[in-house]
């Protein structure tokens, strides 16, 4: 058993000489992974924890059969990257969590694997692997050591969340009426369907074009597209919009109508000439409640926007403060070329994010005392008495 151990680490290194580099390219571009799940797959492949192996992955098992143990394990690791996304990786990880909790796992694990961990790792492996793979290994201890080695590899690999800025870029942000998927990864995942956002004005010109062409039945997507003369609008988008348009016209507003035909039949006879011009009481009430909900939602949304804005502003202040006060010892990577990402780049959980509680388990890298001071004065535990978010800024400014 121990003789195989030396082999494994070196083969690991052979496989992943560019592990750090790979991580840097991971998020934005799906490497060998399925376009549908680029980020996750590439991240998983880099850690090669051979995480959620699908037991129903046929290509994987056939490959496994052809190799001897050490090269086979190499194949396994290589294959696992392609296979990884086949299953629903998130589902598997959640299953794994169930397995782990079944095993009453409660300890914080460190980079040293405890015997308990190995047993549970083994459990997890046996749950995840398919039968062929198990047979080939032929030896649960072999799988244990492999799991252990892979686990160690993961421990030593660079921190993935440091790459958060790239991940964030992958969230498409829409502006304007017609957008192709802006980031590379979403471009891959969106495939032939860049998401478009219709507006009332666009629809207006759509309807005009349709009417000019003789109605929704006669008009063709191509004709409509030509008449509309909107840049960037694809025929596919016009087509799907036309479809929606046709369906809506043939089935006008019948969500409640189809469900409650009985009710409306009851209501109409009770109308007299006077109230017929007004809404029925039921509708009035419904409208009232809906209006209230809408109003509250608007208020809430504006509040949320302001809260986040304040959070950003405070963070900006922190950064400026720290640069002014401690220019020599401040972390050079805090140069806020892009403010929003600097928080992610610098691993300073408590001090640079306004409002986070200074928790005991925060990993503080830069122990600058000035920052500590600022944080403590702005500790939200103190602010719990203040219910209105708007008062926070005045509190903090007082503490500076």
């Amino acid at each position: 058993m121990s003789s195989s151990l030396p082999i494994i680490p070196t083969s690991m290194e052979d496989n992943f000489p560019k592990l750090p580099d790979a991580q840097q390219v991971s998020v934005g571009r799906g490497t060998r992974s399925n376009p549908v799940a680029p980020h996750y797959a590439s991240l998983i492949s880099n850690t090669s924890f051979a995480g959620p192996l699908s037991s129903s992955s046929p290509s994987f098992s056939s490959d496994v059969h052809h190799s001897s143990f050490s090269s086979h394990e190499r194949n396994f690791i290589a294959r696992s990257t392609e296979v990884m996304w086949c299953a629903d990786p998130i589902q598997d990880i959640l299953e794994y969590s169930n397995n782990v909790t079944k095993g009453n796992y409660q300890e914080q694990s460190s980079s040293v694997m405890l015997p308990d961990d190995i047993t549970r790792q083994d459990e997890w492996w046996t749950d995840m692997m398919n039968e062929d793979w198990k047979e080939l290994l032929n030896d649960t201890t072999a799988s244990e050591s492999q799991a252990k080695a892979v686990y160690k590899e993961v421990q030593t690999s660079a921190d993935i969340p440091v790459k958060q800025p790239q991940i964030h870029q992958s969230i498409p942000s829409q502006s304007g009426e017609v957008c192709a998927a802006p980031s590379s990864s979403s471009a891959v995942s969106a495939a032939a369907k860049p998401r478009m956002r219709w507006t009332p004005e666009l629809h207006e010109s759509f309807v005009e074009a349709v009417n000019q062409l003789g109605g929704s039945e006669k008009a063709t997507p191509k004709g409509i597209l030509k008449l509309m003369k909107v840049e960037g609008l694809t025929i596919y988008q016009v087509k799907s919009h036309l479809q929606k348009y046709r369906t809506t016209r043939h089935k006008p507003d019948s969500l409640e109508g189809s469900l409650k035909k009985a009710t409306s039949a009851d209501e109409i006879p009770s109308l007299n000439l006077k109230t017929s011009f007004d809404l029925t009481e039921a509708l009035q009430l419904q409208m009232e409640v809906q209006k209230q909900l809408h109003e509250q939602l608007e208020i809430q949304r504006n509040l949320q926007l302001r809260i986040e804005e304040q959070g950003r502003y405070l963070q900006l202040m922190f950064e400026k403060q720290s640069k002014l006060q401690v220019p020599s010892t401040s972390d050079p990577s805090t140069v806020p070329s892009d403010l929003t990402y600097s928080a992610a780049k610098v691993d300073l959980p408590g001090s640079s994010q306004a409002g986070t509680e200074v928790s005991a388990d925060a990993k503080v890298i830069d122990g600058s005392s000035n920052k500590q001071q600022m944080t403590e004065s702005c500790n939200p535990v103190d602010n719990k008495a203040n219910i209105v978010a708007g008062s926070h800024s005045s509190q903090c400014k007082g503490g500076a």
Partner: protein
């Protein structure tokens, strides 16, 4: 009540077709717990972010599609009203058509508001789970991530808001004297209650109030408590859902 439970309850009370479009809060929470258990956290963290991105895609897709439909329906309603007006109907005909149209407008309004609520609840869930994540990992994912969320289609509800307001002014225009309340109010209220949209709306208001009641994690990023007029009236409407969830 914790958010996860509240969310689940709200989903049960909302429009059936929307039920699987909401945030998978439970799954995200499981991942966060996994992280803290100390397993290879980089993998789990990656899965977490992956799921977050997928959820946001889900919201955007659903929201934009609904928005498109609402835009179409809005125009159709306007056309319908125009047609009725232009046909110069008799009083009886007018009354008949208007009662149908009014019902449709009110329901249309309701659906749009529920979409706004959908956006809001998912945003709240995201903010909460990101906060948990930051707490467990000591990382700073929340702030930059939330900023991106604020720009997402599903959160930029300006168009829907505009449509809602247009609906309200249309209603006011067509049915000017709609302020009277009478003894019959309660009976009519029961009739209204049977309608799914109305029930969902009431549920949404109750949910909002509950969520903002204040909790152990109240911080400066939390919203102030909600105070609604007619809260007692609303609460009397808040009946349990008769639709069994399988």
């Amino acid at each position: 009540m914790k958010f996860g439970k509240r969310l689940k309850k709200h989903i049960e009370e909302t429009l059936p077709e929307w039920r699987d479009k909401f945030l998978s809060y439970k799954d995200l929470k499981k991942l966060v717990r996994l992280i803290s258990s100390g397993q290879p956290s980089s993998v789990v963290e990656a899965a977490f972010i992956q799921l977050l991105d997928a959820e946001i895609d889900k919201f955007n897709a659903f929201f934009v599609e609904q928005e498109e439909e609402f835009i179409i329906r809005q125009k159709e309603l306007q056309e319908r009203i125009k047609r009725v007006m232009e046909s110069q109907p008799s009083e009886a005909e007018y009354a008949k058509e208007m009662s149908k149209i009014s019902k449709d407008i009110v329901n249309f309004h309701g659906e749009m508001v529920l979409l706004e609520n959908y956006s809001s609840i998912n945003y709240t869930g995201l903010a909460k789970i990101l906060k948990k994540y930051d707490k467990q990992t000591g990382r700073l994912l929340r702030l930059p991530f939330i900023e991106k969320v604020l720009e997402q289609p599903f959160f930029t509800t300006e168009i829907i808001s505009k449509l809602v307001k247009e609906c309200e002014s249309t209603i006011d225009l067509l049915f000017p004297a709609s302020d009277q309340k009478s003894q019959q109010g309660e009976k009519k209220a029961l009739v209204a209650m049977e309608q799914t949209i109305f029930r969902s709306t009431v549920a949404a208001l109750m949910t909002m109030q509950e969520l903002r009641k204040g909790s152990s994690t109240y911080g400066q990023f939390s919203l102030p408590p909600l105070s609604l007029p007619d809260m007692d009236l609303l609460q009397s409407f808040h009946l349990p859902s008769p639709i069994p969830i399988l």
